[in-house]
């Protein structure tokens, strides 16, 4: 089983330095791309590889790129932005790549930047990732020193500057348009689409925003080809995927596995199953803003197309397991508290609706629930739907709640009936 993204990450916790990275075949894709490939050839390879965005939405990367104006028609400067604002609860996959192999990301950005004819690239990094910030800063300096960044990279006609930007710290900054606003120094509020960032992105100029894991895949696609990349996957969606498991399992962690590995295999085999004394109750498969899955769903393949059939989403592919000794109401309260707090405050349903949801769940958890509360919660789940709100935050926020109301309804009802949390 090939693990292109993580195979070079050292087990001693140290980052892969530039010499080591080069020795392991690093920056070959850069040489190959700048040495003879056209930007269109790279975009075509990424498209053919069926690489889909690893930030959670799963939009095909090559198609995203194909919308950016190229050549003389394009307005400049053009920007490439790496979304490294990993703040989804339960998600820590980008951190591994950022801390373990920063040059892989930098190379991904150089190659992608070349494909997009970008003039300036930014890594928008979650501020709490201080170790990643330090290592990225060092890696960028190393890449500049060796001529992989800056004017006329490796003697080619292509120039790219790369800057590291530390987020001021809001979950909404992970939303690509809010990220762009934050990068401009404005309030981190999402923008309406259209216009898409490809038309009017950072400072109103053509911009592509990609996730860390997405960009880290690009050098491997360029290096070894689209067919090889597709062959890594169990499904139509190319490549490997870094899956993660947290919760009361024996070995919480991250594993790079073929895209489409079934959830049961990840939880039982790689995470070692539930800890002794704990039973499996459910799992949120892709970060906090996805719907719960139950035992009966675990044979589903973890990929962008299969999970919706089971009623959830792949999201970031990092699971949070709910065990049978933890109050599902408490878990949902914790999640919704996070989302309500992280609402940017721009649109009414998210700003007011999520706060109300939290107030109600909090009352239920405290034993102060009322009969009509569950109806109101269900109504809020329906009303906070995609398209009703300005961005995807609130619809994502109610996904775990909506499924919890479906799968763990008796727990909510017991809280109300028994006027308290049965787990306390």
């Amino acid at each position: 089983m090939e693990r292109p993204l993580t195979e070079n990450i050292r087990s001693d916790g140290q980052p892969v330095g530039i010499e080591e990275y080069e020795k392991l075949g690093g920056y070959q894709a850069t040489r190959k791309a700048l040495g003879g490939m056209s930007p269109q050839e790279i975009t075509a390879a990424v498209k053919n590889a069926d690489l889909r965005g690893r930030g959670g939405a799963g939009f095909p990367t090559g198609i995203k790129w194909s919308f950016i104006p190229m050549g003389d028609a394009a307005r400049h400067p053009k920007y490439l932005v790496c979304n490294a604002d990993e703040m989804e609860p339960g998600t820590f996959k980008d951190r591994l790549l950022l801390e373990g192999n920063p040059h892989q990301l930098i190379e991904g950005m150089i190659v992608s930047g070349y494909a997009l004819e970008a003039d300036l690239a930014y890594i928008f990094l979650r501020a709490e990732y201080t170790l990643a910030a330090k290592r990225l800063g060092q890696a960028i300096a190393e890449a500049y020193a060796k001529g992989y960044l800056g004017r006329r990279i490796l003697g080619s006609d292509y120039s790219l500057d790369l800057r590291l930007h530390l987020s001021a710290g809001r979950y909404i900054c992970g939303e690509e348009t809010a990220l762009l606003n934050a990068l401009e120094g404005k309030r981190a509020i999402p923008r309406a689409k259209p216009p898409h960032p490809q038309t009017s992105g950072l400072w109103g100029k053509p911009t592509i925003v990609n996730n860390v894991e997405t960009l880290s895949n690009v050098p491997h696609i360029v290096d070894r080809g689209a067919e090889w990349f597709k062959s890594l996957s169990h499904t139509d969606c190319g490549g490997t995927k870094i899956y993660g498991v947290s919760g009361r399992v024996k070995r919480p962690g991250l594993w790079e596995l073929p895209m489409g590995t079934p959830a049961r295999e990840i939880i039982d085999l790689h995470a070692g199953g539930m800890r002794n004394g704990y039973g499996f109750r459910g799992v949120i498969p892709g970060g906090a803003s996805t719907e719960f899955l139950l035992e009966e769903h675990l044979d589903v393949r973890m990929d962008f197309d299969s999970l919706p059939k089971a009623g959830s989403r792949l999201g970031t592919g990092t699971m949070i397991v709910l065990d049978d000794k933890t109050c599902p109401v408490g878990m949902v309260l914790s999640l919704e508290t996070f989302f309500a707090r992280e609402s940017c405050g721009w649109c009414t349903p998210c700003r007011e609706g999520l706060r109300w949801v939290v107030q109600i769940i909090d009352a239920i958890e405290k034993g102060e629930g009322a009969g009509e509360d569950l109806d109101i919660l269900e109504g809020q789940c329906r009303l906070l739907a995609p398209g009703h709100t300005f961005c995807a935050l609130a619809p994502g926020a109610v996904e775990p709640l909506q499924s919890a109301l479906k799968y763990f309804r008796e727990d909510f009802e017991r809280h109300i009936k028994e006027k308290g949390c049965p787990w306390r």
């Binding site: 809001r170 309030r187 923008r191 309406a192 259209p194 216009p195 038309t199 009017s200 400072w203 109103g204 309500a340 707090r341 992280e342 609402s343 940017c344 405050g345 721009w346 649109c347 009414t348 349903p349 700003r351 007011e352 609706g353 999520l354 706060r355 109300w356 107030q359 109600i360 009352a363 009322a370 009509e372 109101i376 109504g379 009303l383 739907a385 398209g387 009703h388 709100t389 300005f390």
Partner: protein
């Protein structure tokens, strides 16, 4: 045009609109908060949700925000879809979770957009039992009251204040449900457009603090269409009265003039009407004591009769803040050759201005035209202080060039966030040449700070660059020459170039230079507009009335000369304090030599102090009248309330005087005066058509000044008489002092208030417009009196002034204008008085150093024999050799600018 389907019925709408705009224009009641017709869509509040269907077969559809969805050909939507209706009611439910529900004690109550939208969506039951979020309120200064707990976070305030008006001391803070709108800390709002927050805010977060001191509900206010009297722009207003006092001013939408907004001087300057400075009874001088004493109207008329019947030589002085009708009446009384207007400087400027506008090819733009100009060149004018709303329009003009790029990206211009994102800090070509830094400099692409002569020379040079037939400027410095070339290049490249100048520069060279630039553009095939600011609400009207082009009508200086010859039996001064106009000692000498001094005015002044007879005039709120704004647009202002006692319109006093002089005149009503004026003076023919005449009725009814919910009619005078008095008749207009009458939409010039069924707030203006954001139904009111002659053959001005040469031992004192303080009437409003600066003398730092003075030192300046002691302020942008004095402040009145003066440390 595009056909869209709303609930399966086809409608034809204009291209390029969003669905909300289209639906509202079609008359649908679709609720909204964050959208504003002047500020467009951002999609924040989610209130305007509708169901959109792909095609006829699509029965499921999806919820979309109508404000963010193009009304493209074939678009199918449902407003009445149950899911859409449920969602819209839910939005109100969310907004109401933390709203305090304090309507009975909220100043917005009864005219609250949130109330209206709540009723419109049908939400009526509160399902939450949890605590509301609360906020701390701020003291935002004398104009705006802040009550954040009522906020529904529609972001309109911050979008207006920061994006539209480009203020910098207000913003949105915090996030999620703690979002807060205000200043970074308590303090007076710095923007001169802060008062618009009152109308922008859909609920009671920002309310009128001046109104609060004499609060009255909208339904209890008697209102009439009016025109602002605090500068020359003629913004349309709605003053509201109760119990004989003016309570507030609201915007009266006029698509061509002020649109949706007013400046704070216009909104809060009205309190002079209620002030203790008002002349409320006729006064006559007691010949023994020399004191002015109250008199009956009969006694006064009798005295007038003596004076005027026997007086062989009576002159009149007109007023730029009085109506055309009052001025015309006085002119008729004294005769055209004895009618004097303006001081010497203003007369000269006005003659030049009218000459340029009448004879040349450049059109005067409306403020709407100004806002759509894509290249601007300002000569010598501090617009933000002399004509504030023009500055707001100019701020929008600075975006027009970059907007052309936005359109190329196929981004709809109503998508405000996307438009601003593309524009970023880009601004169109915008050049300001002024004697000092101005508040508008932040939108300028280049500024040039120089003395008036040098600014005029720059203007002449620009004209020469545009058209070599325009005269060249000898000995122009290279820096100015290169700048002139750049300005010419950008003006030439624009689709709608605009040249701005005005009276405040006190130099006719500036006006001529501006004229040459605009003419050079017109002559070389460009559609150039030429905007001159005027200083008072009827300056241009008075100029046209006095026919300054002809030259036989004279300024006050000529009247002074007459008086020196000792020939004057009496002088009638209309709504004027001469001590503001000319040098104080000259005015003193003049009035002493005048025989009888008769003053018709509404305020006591130094001039009334010298009068033998003072006749109490009605203010704009107590009179009907016509004012001509700087565009040349004649606009009607209607009496809002009947003044107490013997106060009456100035023209009625003049009419009474005519009768007293046994020259009986047949003017019974206002329309009679207008007809006489329009008949006698060709330039005013259109004035009779500004508004329907007094006999106008709709379905036999007059238009009520009082709303249908006016309360207390039978009780408000009960302490005097329990019988309800007969309402006053209004023989002058089609408006009635009644709550009864025509309740629909009257002709645009007669709209006394915006109010429509289900729409109690100011947003009801939607229902009065042809299309939302467009002209009022039946076109925006007002008639333009000056149109360009199209005379491309008009010769350029050749009087290029020499460069400014500083003098040794003297400084050139120029006026510095302050929006709050420089205008005579508004400064009587307590809020505005509090915002006025203390008198000061502004010096260039090098001049100050030369005089051995620092900021804060007491300086002394001697202007035509009068000594002023003032603290020194350093103003780096003032040219060397030039000093500035605030114009019009109490204590600094009657200075004739510009003046050479000896300046030094106070001794």
């Amino acid at each position: 045009m595009a056909t869209i389907y709303i609930d399966n019925k086809p409608y034809v709408v204009k291209d390029g609109q969003n669905l909300l705009h289209a639906c509202l224009s079609l008359g649908f009641d679709l609720p909204y908060f964050c959208w504003h017709p002047a500020m467009h869509s951002v999609g924040a509040c989610r209130q305007c949700a509708v169901k959109q269907f792909r095609d006829e077969k699509d029965t499921k559809g999806k919820i979309v925000m109508s404000c963010m969805t193009p009304a493209a050909e074939g678009t199918r939507i449902s407003i009445d879809d149950p899911e859409a209706m449920e969602f819209r009611a839910s939005v109100i439910e969310w907004l109401m979770l933390s709203h305090p529900h304090d309507c009975p004690v909220c100043d917005e109550g009864g005219e609250c957009h949130l109330q209206d939208m709540t009723v419109m969506t049908g939400h009526n039951y509160r399902r939450t039992r949890f605590p509301k979020r609360t906020h701390r309120n701020q003291d935002l200064g004398p104009f705006i009251n802040h009550e954040m707990n009522r906020c529904i976070q529609c972001y309109r305030c911050v979008r207006f204040y920061c994006d539209y008006a480009q203020g910098r001391d207000f913003n949105v803070f915090a996030c999620h449900h703690a979002v807060y709108f205000g200043r970074h800390r308590d303090g007076v709002l710095e923007s001169e457009f802060s008062g618009n927050l009152i109308e922008i805010c859909p609920t009671g977060v920002f309310t009128d603090k001046a109104l609060k001191r004499h609060y009255t509900r909208k339904w209890d206010l008697q209102t009439a269409p009016s025109v602002c009297v605090h500068c020359g722009l003629g913004c349309n207003t709605i003053p509201g009265e109760r119990y004989g006092a003016l309570r507030r001013i609201l915007n009266r939408y006029n698509g061509e003039v002020n649109g949706y907004f007013l400046c704070d001087r216009g909104r809060f300057g009205y309190e002079f009407v209620n002030s203790g400075q008002r002349v409320r009874t006729p006064l006559m001088k007691n010949n023994e004591t020399g004191a002015l004493e109250p008199a009956t109207k009969g006694d006064v008329i009798e005295r007038l009769s003596h004076i005027l019947y026997f007086g062989a030589n009576v002159i009149g002085i007109g007023s730029a803040r009085a109506s055309l009708e009052a001025n015309f009446a006085l002119r008729a009384l004294v005769g055209p050759d004895r009618f004097f207007v303006f001081d010497e400087t203003r007369r000269r400027l006005m003659a030049t201005m009218i000459g340029i506008l009448k004879s040349g090819p450049a059109r005067t733009p409306s403020m709407k035209d100004v806002a759509s100009s894509d290249a601007v060149f300002i000569l010598g004018e501090d617009v933000a202080n002399t004509a504030p709303m023009l500055a707001l329009a100019l701020r929008q003009a600075a975006r027009q060039r970059p907007m052309q790029d936005v359109a190329k990206l196929k981004i709809p211009l109503w998508d405000d966030t996307a438009v601003r994102e593309v524009i970023q800090g880009e601004k169109g070509p915008f050049f300001i040449a002024a004697p000092h830094a101005t508040k508008l400099d932040d939108v300028a692409t280049e500024t040039y700070h120089a003395a008036g002569e040098d600014i005029a020379r720059l203007g002449f040079a620009v004209a020469h660059e545009l058209d070599p037939a325009a005269p060249p400027v000898p000995d122009l410095k290279e820096e100015a020459l290169l700048l002139a070339r750049r300005i010419a290049l950008f003006l030439k490249g624009a689709r709608r170039p605009l040249v701005v100048s005005g009276m405040s520069g006190t130099s006719d060279s500036l006006l001529r230079a501006a004229g040459n630039v605009a003419w050079a553009l017109c002559k070389t095939g460009h559609d150039a507009a030429l905007c001159f600011t005027t200083d008072e609400c009827n300056s241009l009207g008075l100029g046209l009335l006095a026919d300054l082009g002809d030259g036989y009508v004279s300024d006050i200086g000529k009247a002074f000369a007459l008086a020196e010859k000792g020939k004057l039996d009496a002088i009638i001064i209309l709504e004027n304090d001469l001590f503001l106009r000319e040098d104080i000692s000259r005015v003193e000498r003049f009035l002493e030599g005048c025989g009888h001094v008769i003053v018709i005015d509404h305020l006591f002044s130094r001039t009334t102090g010298k009068a033998d007879i003072v006749l109490p005039a009605g203010t704009f709120a107590e009179s009907d009248g016509t004012f001509v704004n700087n565009e040349g647009r004649a606009q009607r202002c209607f009496q809002v309330f009947v003044p107490e006692g013997d106060i009456q319109e100035s023209w009625r006093w003049v009419r009474d005087a005519l009768n007293a002089a046994r020259r009986p005149i047949q003017w019974r009503t206002f329309d009679d005066v207008v007809a006489a004026m329009a008949g006698e003076m060709q330039q005013f023919e259109a004035v009779a058509e500004i508004a329907p005449p007094a006999g106008f009725r709709i379905a036999g009814q007059k238009i009520p000044r009082q709303p249908h919910r006016y309360s207390g009619r039978t009780a408000m005078h009960a302490q005097i008489d329990v019988h309800e008095p007969k309402p006053p008749d209004d023989a002058d207009t089609p408006l009635a002092y009644s709550m009864e009458g025509f309740e629909g939409i009257p002709p645009s010039a007669l709209v006394p208030r915006f109010w429509a069924p289900g729409w109690n707030s100011v947003q009801s203006v939607n229902k009065f417009q042809e299309e939302v954001g467009g002209p009022l139904r039946g076109d925006d009111p007002g008639k333009r009196l000056i149109e360009p002659t199209g005379g491309k053959e008009v010769p350029y001005f050749h009087e290029v002034p020499g460069a400014f040469v500083p003098r040794k031992g003297e400084l050139l004192i120029v006026p510095l204008y302050h929006i709050f303080g420089s205008e005579e009437l508004s400064v009587l409003s307590p809020g505005i008085a509090g915002m006025a600066p203390h008198p000061y003398l502004a010096l260039n730092p090098f001049d100050a150093e030369g005089l051995g003075m620092n900021a804060g030192d007491e300086g002394e300046v001697v202007i035509s024999g009068n000594t002023y002691r003032l603290p020194i302020t350093l103003m780096a942008s003032l040219p060397q050799g030039v000093a500035g004095l605030p114009s019009g402040l109490p204590g600094l009145r009657g200075i004739v600018f510009p003046a050479w003066a000896k300046t030094g440390r106070a001794t």
